[in-house]
């Protein structure tokens, strides 16, 4: 949870899934796209312009940064691509969003339960 008074940018859906993908491990663009497709069960497909546009935006907001070189474990093919890494601010923003979602989830669950009881 973010500390009180700390500024945390609100997170949109694209941002959320990209941060979520990078929270697991560093990835390059194409891998983020694949991962998000998987995470959302094929519901959110990040097309090239939106993907890199959003990565650019996240970078601007200092929620992620680009790695200077690919990690050692990367294969030949992916080694030539640019890899991205989630920053501490990125993790905080993601955590805040998760907390918000949790709160919403609890309220929603309670309301649904009450709705079905009446």
């Amino acid at each position: 949870m973010p500390r009180p008074g700390q500024r945390v940018p609100p997170v949109r859906r694209h941002w959320f899934y990209i941060l979520l993908s990078l929270a697991e491990r560093d990835r390059h663009g194409s891998a983020i796209m694949r991962d998000v497709l998987e995470l959302t069960d094929g519901a959110l497909r990040l097309w090239p312009v939106t993907l890199y546009g959003t990565l650019d935006e996240l970078h601007e907001q200092r929620l992620i940064r680009a790695l200077d070189r690919a990690p050692a474990e990367a294969g030949d093919d992916s080694a030539r691509k640019r890899w991205f890494h989630i920053t501490a601010a990125g993790r905080r923003a993601l955590a805040a969003e998760v907390a918000r979602l949790e709160g919403t989830l609890q309220v929603a669950t309670r309301r649904l339960a009450r709705g079905s009881a009446s």
Binding site: S30, P48, T50, E60
Partner: protein, 885 residues
């Protein structure tokens, strides 16, 4: 490289450069990857579509994002916020109903004036005549500068030559206004129409709604008696019956066969009740300049080319009859000929209403600006809550638009009524000048409304954007305007005063011109004079002698009507017609063809006409009863201008003789018995020409005058004579309709009606401008005083007197008035030059008017400043200081 990739690379160029540089290659690579992954063709298609659609969707956002307004929502849902703006605007405007009503009323007034005047300006300047390809229609006429005539009329002989030999015209026709008596046996009515050459319908491009047009045979001398009915007459007299073709109509006591019905929109300058064929023999028509010409140019022919062609065709006529080219053809677009008289009027009124509109805009912009300064806090809160500057701007614009739209609707409706007012004042508007609210006028109103909303909505909005609104939250309730704001308010007031000065000066000059006009001596005494016109048909009254006898009997009868002091008749009463001829004095050679020889207005009058009209005698006497016979002697009364012209060195030309130019046979010499000063014949603003009167008793059988104006003078109310006058004519000949029944007072007023209307309209624009300017000064000073309460409180606490505080505020108001006048008076001076043709009898630099403008504006400026000034002087120092802390 695949075609898809190449296309994608090209498409990526629409992205912001930095994004393309940073990630362009990766985007392409990703697309290549995805395409490689897709196995089935359908998948590859969907990848392609998806990638391009994504690009299209994202591009606007990427550009927008880079304009320094990072936002969390790439796609703004616009419609709901527009409704929110509207709702907010309605709420805001109902919160201050009085202020809102004032703004709407101000603007509605301006829109109404603009809509009404637009109809006139549109008709005069832009709308084409109601004929197909009307831009190719031209007016033909002849001019004779040596005779002092701009439009002489065309002789049928010249027309015939032009028609036969010119090459640039599709068709050419002449016409002459004509009025006839149409009778059904018991009563008769007077109907206006035209005599036309047979080609007229083809030249105008019209086809009859019923029957046919005239044939060439009917056009010849002594051709068949046929008539085409005007649409209006067909409706009113025959109830639009389709079996009128072939029926007979009694015109001037002769039967005519109806051959066709004209469509509704056909009008030359006069109403068209009928068309009759002009039945003339060109060879005998060389001296009679009676006809107006209309021609249709071949496509692509210019006026200049047509003029050259006419001059070429005129050359043989000049060689044969007119070696000095005294009379030459003139050609102009038909429209220009018809609307020329209304141009200055239209332009003056148009400029006037636009100024009113600008002043109204400035006024409202000022009011909105002053109000917005008090609303700074509200706007600050909205910005703090996340509204963007654009959002606040849009809301202010929406508010302005809501007010403007309300004003637009009201203004357009009022403007429709205004057209009636406008045209009732301006006389003789040609019937084809369609004046009304149509799609164009409504489009114009919408345009005005949008433009004004932009002007007075944007002014405060720009101010908002220029400053830090969040600062206003810290400032609490203090509503001190910033320097640029005060400057803008001041500039608006200065603009209003400058424009008001222009309108006041123009209105003032026109009113003075009109007032001068009323003082112009018309050359007769209009009080108690009733007049009407008659036309006696050739069929019943065979020659001049018969007609003379009829008129003499009628005048004698009218003279016996109780209450009638004098009765007389004249061929052309003042402000009605013109018939011109040329004369030479005894003992002088006829004017050489090269010399100036202004045309002389020639009238025939009965002996008592002069007494009935109260015409002023300078020398000699009027005609005695039965003075002069066809065989001589032939007395003449001439006006002072003709006396000067014929005998420049003689003071009193009574007893001298003169005759028609070039006709020195003993019979026609006329002897001057009196000299009169008939000052105005062609209208009070038009210069008089040399003129002369022949005695009615000297008319012989060869004279062809059939139309007279009969006047009767009474000591009582002239209009009360009308029934007795009608009865007198009816007793003599029940088939003769009276027309042009009026009093000379009314005729005089009618001749000034247009001037009066223009003066009145511009004066009312000036009054509106003045009211608005006063409102503007008041609003700004109220605001300034409100803002300076604290400072004034301190001054008063330090011992400033009430008078000093009053002076402080009034001085501030006067400074604005002074700057406004410095700009406005020179502008007014320039504007008066454009009005020159309307300013008869008053100089465009008339000092009295300008001094008046300065005095009026200064006085109203002081008055407008006094209320806020008194409020300031009434400030309790303690309270004002308490507020400020």
């Amino acid at each position: 490289m695949s075609l898809t990739l190449r296309a994608f690379r090209l498409a990526l160029r629409v992205l912001p450069a930095d994004l393309r540089a940073a990630h362009g290659a990766e985007m392409e690579a990703l697309l290549v990857d995805e395409l490689a992954r897709a196995r089935r063709p359908i998948e590859r298609v969907s990848v392609r579509l998806g990638a391009f659609a994504d690009l299209a969707r994202r591009v606007p956002y990427e550009h927008w994002r880079r304009r320094g307004r990072p936002t969390l929502q790439p796609r703004v849902n616009r419609m709901p916020s527009v409704f929110a703006d509207l709702r907010f605007a309605l709420r805001a405007s109902t919160r201050q109903p009085a202020a809102t009503a004032l703004v709407i009323a101000t603007l509605a007034l301006a829109v109404a004036a603009n809509t009404a005047v637009f109809a006139l300006v549109d008709a005069v300047f832009f709308r084409s005549l109601p004929y197909p390809h009307a831009s190719r229609l031209v007016d033909l006429n002849e001019q004779a500068p040596k005779w002092n005539l701009e439009f002489v009329g065309i002789t049928y002989y010249d027309f015939d030559q032009w028609q036969k030999n010119s090459r640039v015209f599709e068709g050419m026709a002449v016409w002459d206004g004509s009025a006839v008596n149409i009778s059904d046996g018991t009563t008769a009515t007077r109907v206006d129409g035209q005599m036309v050459s047979y080609d007229m319908a083809r030249v105008l491009g019209i086809t009859p709604v019923l029957g046919r047009t005239f044939t060439k045979d009917e056009h010849a001398l002594h051709g068949a008696r046929v008539v085409m009915l005007g649409y209006g007459m067909w409706q009113s007299r025959f109830a639009g019956a389709h079996d009128v073709i072939g029926k007979t109509l009694r015109i001037d006591s002769r039967p005519f066969t109806i051959v066709g019905v004209l469509p509704a929109n056909v009008t030359l300058t006069e109403p068209t009740g009928f068309w009759l064929p002009l039945q003339l023999d060109a060879a005998n028509e060389r001296g009679n300049y009676s006809y107006e010409g209309i021609a249709r140019l071949k496509p692509g022919v210019t006026i200049a080319q047509a003029r050259n062609d006419l001059l070429r065709v005129q050359a043989p006529i000049w060689r044969q009859f007119d070696s000095t080219h005294t009379v030459s053809p003139r050609i102009m677009p038909l429209r220009d000929r018809f609307v020329a008289d209304y141009r200055t009027v239209g332009a003056a009124l148009g400029a006037g209403v636009v100024l009113v509109l600008i002043i109204a805009c400035a006024d409202i912009a000022g009011a909105m600006l002053a109000r917005s300064i008090f609303r700074r806090r509200e706007m600050g809160i909205r910005v703090a809550l996340g509204a963007s500057g654009w959002r606040v701007t849009r809301q202010l614009l929406t508010e302005a638009l809501v007010l403007a739209a309300a004003a637009g609707v009201i203004g357009t409706v009022v403007g429709r009524l205004g057209i009636g007012l406008l045209t009732s004042g301006i006389s003789d508007i040609p019937p084809w000048l369609h004046l009304g609210i149509d799609a164009r006028a409504i489009a114009f109103s919408v345009l005005i409304v949008a433009a004004t909303a932009l002007v007075f909505g944007l002014a405060p909005a720009l101010q908002f954007r220029r400053q830090d609104l969040t600062g206003s939250l810290v400032g609490g309730t203090r509503t001190s305007g910033s320097l640029p704001e005060r400057r803008m308010l001041n500039a608006l007031v200065v603009l209003e005063i400058a424009l008001a000065a222009v309108l006041l000066a123009s209105g003032g000059l026109l009113v003075r011109a009109y007032a001068n006009l009323r003082d112009v001596d018309p050359g007769f005494r209009p009080d108690g004079v009733a007049s009407f016109r008659l036309s006696v048909p050739d069929a019943k009254y065979k020659d001049g002698r018969d007609k003379r006898r009829f008129y003499e009997t009628l005048i004698a009868r009218i003279g016996r009507i109780p209450g009638v002091a004098h009765a007389g008749a004249v061929t052309c009463a003042p402000f009605s017609c013109h018939w011109g001829s040329f004369y030479q004095a005894e003992g002088t050679a006829p004017a050489s063809t090269n010399a100036e020889d202004p045309v002389v207005l020639t009238r025939i009058a009965s002996s008592d006409y002069f007494a009935a009209m109260g015409i002023k005698l300078l020398h000699g006497r009027f005609f005695g009863p039965n003075e002069g016979t066809p065989d001589g002697p032939r007395p003449a009364v001439i006006n002072d201008l003709l006396a000067k012209r014929l005998w420049p060195t003689v003071d009193d030309p009574v007893g001298r003789r003169f005759t028609f130019r070039g006709d020195t046979s003993a019979r026609d010499w006329m002897t001057v018995v009196g000299v009169v000063k008939d000052a105005r014949h062609y209208g009070l603003t038009q210069p008089m020409r040399p003129g002369m009167y022949m005695s009615l008793t000297s008319i012989d059988s060869a004279h062809t005058f059939d139309r007279f104006a009969v006047v009767a003078q009474t000591t009582g109310d002239a209009a009360s004579l009308f029934p007795a006058l009608r009865a007198a004519v009816h007793e003599l000949d029940p088939e003769l309709p009276l027309f042009g029944v009026t009093t000379m007072q009314a005729a005089l007023a009618q001749s000034m009606a247009s001037r009066r209307a223009i003066a009145l309209w511009l004066a009312s624009f000036a009054a509106i401008a003045l009211t608005l300017a006063v409102g503007g000064i008041y609003a700004v000073l109220s605001y300034v005083v409100g803002r300076r309460r604290h400072e004034i409180g301190i001054r008063m606490a330090l011992g400033a007197q009430r008078g000093q505080v009053l002076g402080l505020v009034v001085r501030q108001g006067l400074r604005l008035v002074a700057i406004g006048l410095l700009l406005g008076v020179p502008a007014a001076f320039l504007a008066s030059r454009a009005l020159a043709s309307l300013l008869v009898g008053v100089s465009g630099s008339d000092p009295l008017t300008y001094v008046g403008v300065i005095v009026v504006l200064t006085a109203t400026g002081v008055a407008a400043a006094l209320i806020p000034a008194r409020r300031a002087a009434g400030v309790e120092p303690k309270i004002a200081l308490g507020e400020g802390s």
